[in-house]
């Protein structure tokens, strides 16, 4: 016998049984592929884990690790800022982050040994959003799409993957991309304001007409669907079934719905308001929200740039973590700070720092992450990683594990099994609870 080319893993068989047992229609049972399993509402309940959600604070352009998580005060590469002691013994971070300095132990793991080998904005962003390089002929889904795929409910009344990137700098370098997972998990991209496109009813139609024409659509469609079977047709109908729910989630995007006290606590900057909206979204069950803050690309005047932007990051991140904690969400919501790369220890003639991917930092807070863990060590000047190095793959394996996902879980593209991270890549156990 030639080897089977379709997924026959035990996992899949189990899902399939669970699904059939739930008494679903025969139309879906035929020819079900791994990718389509989630399309069936009854399967979804069986597959769903305790739903974890992620907020990614994307520091577009590349924030400096030396002015944030891995300061080198006094070194020739150190720059003018001092370091301060945090609530984690032995861990000092930049003085620009006094609020996070008192919160790391209860919330956050700091990763200081990223060596991701890509110092180009476009391809660096691709790698850091996907955990791997796109292969020729295969477009990988990014973190948002994978989390959406794993955590979203098929009948979800909220979007699965929302990304805010309102500033223009670098936006085209880092679009959200569901890759081979397809349109079902494609991001809702917000680029002009804090409201998604097409989420609001047009003025020219009454709400009742809008609702009732949807019912007409279903009714007329029923005639056609009889005797016909297609996964794509199912996804078409599901998409329309989700419209009214998603429209009803419009208010989630409206920051003015929050009490003035909460808004004042976050602050009224765009980044802060989007972080607050992100909290509203994950609270309502949106699996993945990215808030991009641009533009950290400080080839000139690195220190002025960071003096302005790091305190905002410090404040927003600390407030977000406090808020999530107070709402009892921190065990289910992960907050990641990440960028396409960090910045050179060497300071250039314009007092800037350039692109640098050999020894930089990021953080993971909440969910299944070991709070207060510090992993990775750069040398005295910050030029290279001397211990506990991580690349994009091991970072993603760690993130997935801390979300309760098996990084070796396979998707199938045609006949080819594609694990969440490339084969052989392990999560860092020291970072996971």
């Amino acid at each position: 016998m030639p080897r089977s080319t379709f997924c026959r893993s035990a996992d899949h068989a189990l899902d399939r049984r669970a699904f059939l047992g739930a008494g679903a229609g025969a139309a879906l049972a035929a020819n079900m592929t791994a990718l389509n399993a989630l399309a069936a509402p009854d399967v979804n309940g069986a597959l769903k884990k305790a739903q974890k959600r992620v907020i990614l604070l994307w520091l577009a352009g590349g924030a400096s690790q030396l002015e944030t998580w891995d300061p080198k005060p006094g070194a020739s590469t150190g720059g003018p800022f001092r370091s301060i002691q945090t609530d984690v013994p032995g861990l000092r971070i930049s003085e620009l982050m006094p609020k996070m300095a008192t919160r790391i132990g209860k919330t956050t793991a700091v990763i200081r040994g990223l060596n991701t080998k890509n110092g180009d904005h476009g391809s660096g962003a691709k790698v850091m959003m996907r955990g791997r390089r796109d292969e020729s002929g295969l477009r990988y889904p990014d973190l948002g799409a994978v989390v959406a795929r794993e955590m979203a409910r098929a009948d979800s009344k909220v979007p699965d993957y929302v990304t805010f990137y309102t500033q223009t700098e670098g936006r085209s370098f880092a679009p959200g991309d569901s890759g081979f997972l397809g349109a079902r998990f494609a991001p809702m991209e917000l680029t002009t304001n804090n409201y998604p496109e097409f989420i609001k009813k047009l003025d020219g139609i009454t709400d009742l007409d809008h609702q009732e024409r949807g019912e007409l659509r279903e009714l007329v469609g029923k005639t056609f669907e009889k005797g016909r079977s297609s996964e794509t047709m199912n996804s078409h109908n599901e998409a329309y079934q989700r419209v009214r729910g998603i429209m009803a989630s419009e208010k989630l995007f409206d920051v003015t719905q929050e009490p003035e006290k909460v808004r004042a606590r976050y602050g009224k900057t765009q980044f802060a308001e989007q972080a607050l909206i992100a909290r509203r979204l994950v609270e309502a069950g949106v699996p993945f929200v990215r808030v991009a803050r641009a533009w950290w690309d400080s080839h000139g005047q690195n220190f002025e740039t960071h003096q302005e932007m790091v305190p905002e990051l410090d404040h927003v991140m600390a407030t977000l973590l406090d808020d999530l904690g107070e709402r009892g969400l921190l065990d289910d919501v992960m907050v990641v700070t990440l960028a396409e790369f960090g910045r050179t220890p060497g300071i250039n003639a314009s007092l800037g720092r350039d692109h640098f991917a050999s020894a930089w930092s990021c953080t993971i807070s909440g969910a299944g992450v070991k709070r207060g863990a510090v992993y990775g060590k750069s040398d005295a000047l910050g030029n290279k990683v001397v211990a506990e190095e991580m690349d994009a793959g091991s970072l993603f394996a760690t993130i997935y594990t801390a979300l309760g996902l098996d990084p070796n879980k396979n998707y199938h593209v045609g006949s080819r099994p594609i694990p969440l991270v490339n084969p052989g890549i392990e999560p860092v156990k020291a970072l996971v609870k």
């Binding site: 809702m188 659509r217 007329v220 009889k226």
Partner: protein, 541 residues
């Protein structure tokens, strides 16, 4: 090789229907061959095929597949009413002769060459090359030659170079894209290790293909090729190796002069390249062109199976919605075709007939297998790989956008037009539909329609302004003059779906309108919306 053993075993114990199929002569018309093989497999599996699609469904399917839009109600009515026994062949020939055929097929080929969009070359010049080539029905092997060995001095052929040009900066991508597009083989797994699941594909195959292509480079906007250069790679085990130029069949090509040039030669080469750059011309071709060797090897009788099977499989996929081998880029021994003998027959026939794509397309769409209904009124639905039931195909962005334009126009605006006037009008509609098409996702295998599309249809002002308008020349404008709601509903259903409204539809839709007495115009807009956003419109069925 296990596959071959299996096939041999299978042929020795043929069921009668399969035995008949095995005897299809090489001279049989394509549609007869298709039906013999497909029917034999259906009989073998004891399945019952769906009925033939009715005339209305068939003309819709053919018009969408061949020229990329739904038929006008005029075209549809004429076809349904015609009692000419040859009407289907005449329809196919008329559609295939129209300029819209080349336009639509070119758009499909463009997606095949650039599935990720036009960022990798393509766009204007490449599309024009494809459209011109398909218009004159250029043989597929000739197109392969022109794309792989582009003559940039010829203004008419220049656009063909875009495929390579968009990829020369990344030889790995170029290698894989050439293998996928022309040979249906995705060798990318074999880049880092021998393929874990496919014995056929080893690192030697990936780097062997790369050796043909890695000498190609960009010289000031023109493609150049070096006459030297070797590909080395580190296998998963053992020392570094030098890759031989090796085609997917294992056939190798020797390059006796493959050595690095001396300093003097390098200087001469650089001067020649600078001169070509300054003259804005292609650099001189090398004496030994590795890329030309690849083309020659791929088309040689003993290795042309990859080339011919891949194009046959792709054309089959285009019209049936699934390949004989699926996915399209996994044509290897571990992934057997659903109909091995049919694929083989079609590949042979295509090669023997000069890679004539029109002939192949005509044969496919004239088959009974192509004309089966997508409706199957029994729970016992045959396996989709049997092609016993028509498959729903989501429309491409342009098919959908152009069809929306047709369905929202007053059908009377198409009536009484001479054929070339109709062509022109449709072409204008297509042009005006491009903006909307850009908002729709390109379908792929296992395509899922996202909520973004449903939100666009539900709340996009383009839908409101471009489709649900009731100005002169629109279907909704026409409805304003109809007094009786039932009649207006019947008219809208006919315009959108090309069929009469069912009783249930008439009842529900009329009730919807009557409930909105005094603002009927609004009500009809929403009725039309419900029709256009439904699956019966979204899919080719």
């Amino acid at each position: 090789m296990r596959l071959r053993t299996l096939l041999l075993a299978a042929t020795s114990a043929l069921a009668p229907a399969l035995a008949r199929a095995a005897e299809v002569p090489a001279t049989a018309p394509i549609h007869k061959a298709v039906d013999t093989f497909v029917d034999a497999e259906i009989a073998e599996k004891g399945a019952r095929p769906a009925d033939r699609a009715d005339d209305a469904a068939l003309i819709r399917r053919l018009t969408l597949d061949l020229v990329g839009r739904i038929p006008t109600t005029g075209e549809l009515d004429a076809y349904v009413k015609s009692t000419d026994p040859d009407k289907r062949a005449k329809l196919v020939d008329r559609l295939m002769a129209s300029p819209a055929y080349a336009r639509h097929q070119a758009a499909l080929f463009e997606v095949m060459f650039n599935p990720e969009g036009t960022s990798r070359g393509g766009g204007g010049a490449f599309r024009e090359y494809l459209a011109a080539s398909l218009k004159e029905n250029k043989p597929w092997d000739q197109m392969f030659r022109e794309i792989m060995l582009p003559n940039e001095a010829d203004a008419k052929l220049k656009g063909a170079a875009e495929f390579l040009r968009g990829r020369v900066s990344d030889a790995d991508k170029l290698t894989n894209d050439v293998s996928v597009t022309f040979f249906g083989v995705n060798v990318s797994c074999a880049q880092c290790h021998n393929h874990p699941h496919v014995e056929d594909w080893t690192q030697d195959h990936f780097y062997g293909m790369k050796a043909f292509l890695a000498r190609t480079f960009d010289n000031g906007g023109f493609l150049g090729e070096r006459g030297y250069g070797v590909i080395k790679y580190k296998p998963t085990k053992g020392p570094e190796r030098t890759a031989k130029m090796m085609f997917l069949t294992g056939a190798t090509v020797e390059d006796p002069n493959a050595k690095e040039p001396s300093a003097a030669e390098q200087k001469a080469e650089k001067d020649a390249l600078d001169k070509a750059k300054a003259a804005k011309a292609a650099p001189p071709a090398p004496k030994f062109s590795a890329r030309a060797k690849l083309v020659d090897t791929a088309l040689k009788a003993e290795s042309a199976e990859f080339f011919s099977r891949s194009i046959v499989n792709r054309m089959w996929h285009r019209f049936f919605g699934t390949g004989l081998v699926s996915p399209l880029d996994q044509m290897h021994s571990e992934n057997a075709p659903s109909h091995p003998a049919l694929l083989k027959w079609l590949a042979k026939d295509t090669t023997a007939n000069g890679y004539d794509l029109r002939r192949l397309v005509r044969g496919i769409v004239m088959s009974e297998a192509y004309s089966r209904s997508s409706k199957y009124d029994s729970e016992d639905r045959p396996n989709s790989k049997l092609f016993a039931v028509g498959k729903l195909k989501p429309m491409t962005p342009m098919q959908l956008a152009a069809s929306l334009r047709i369905a929202t126009a007053d059908p009377a605006t198409f009536d009484n037009l001479k054929p070339d006037e109709l062509e022109k009008k449709i072409e204008q509609l297509e042009a005006s539909a491009r903006g909307f098409a850009a908002l729709i996702a390109q379908p792929t295998d296992n395509f899922q329609i996202g909520v973004g599309e449903a939100l666009l249809f539900s709340n996009g002002d383009r839908v409101q302004k471009e489709l649900l308008t009731d100005g002169p020349g629109t279907a909704l404008g026409r409805v304003k003059a109809i007094k009786e709601p039932k009649e207006a509903i019947g008219f809208l259903v006919r315009t959108a779906y090309g069929r009469a409204a069912t009783d249930a539809e008439l009842k529900a839709l009329t009730a919807f309108v009557e409930k909105r007495a005094g603002r009927e115009a609004d009500a009809y807009k929403q009725v039309l919306w419900a029709l256009l956003s439904g699956p019966e419109f979204r899919f080719s069925y």
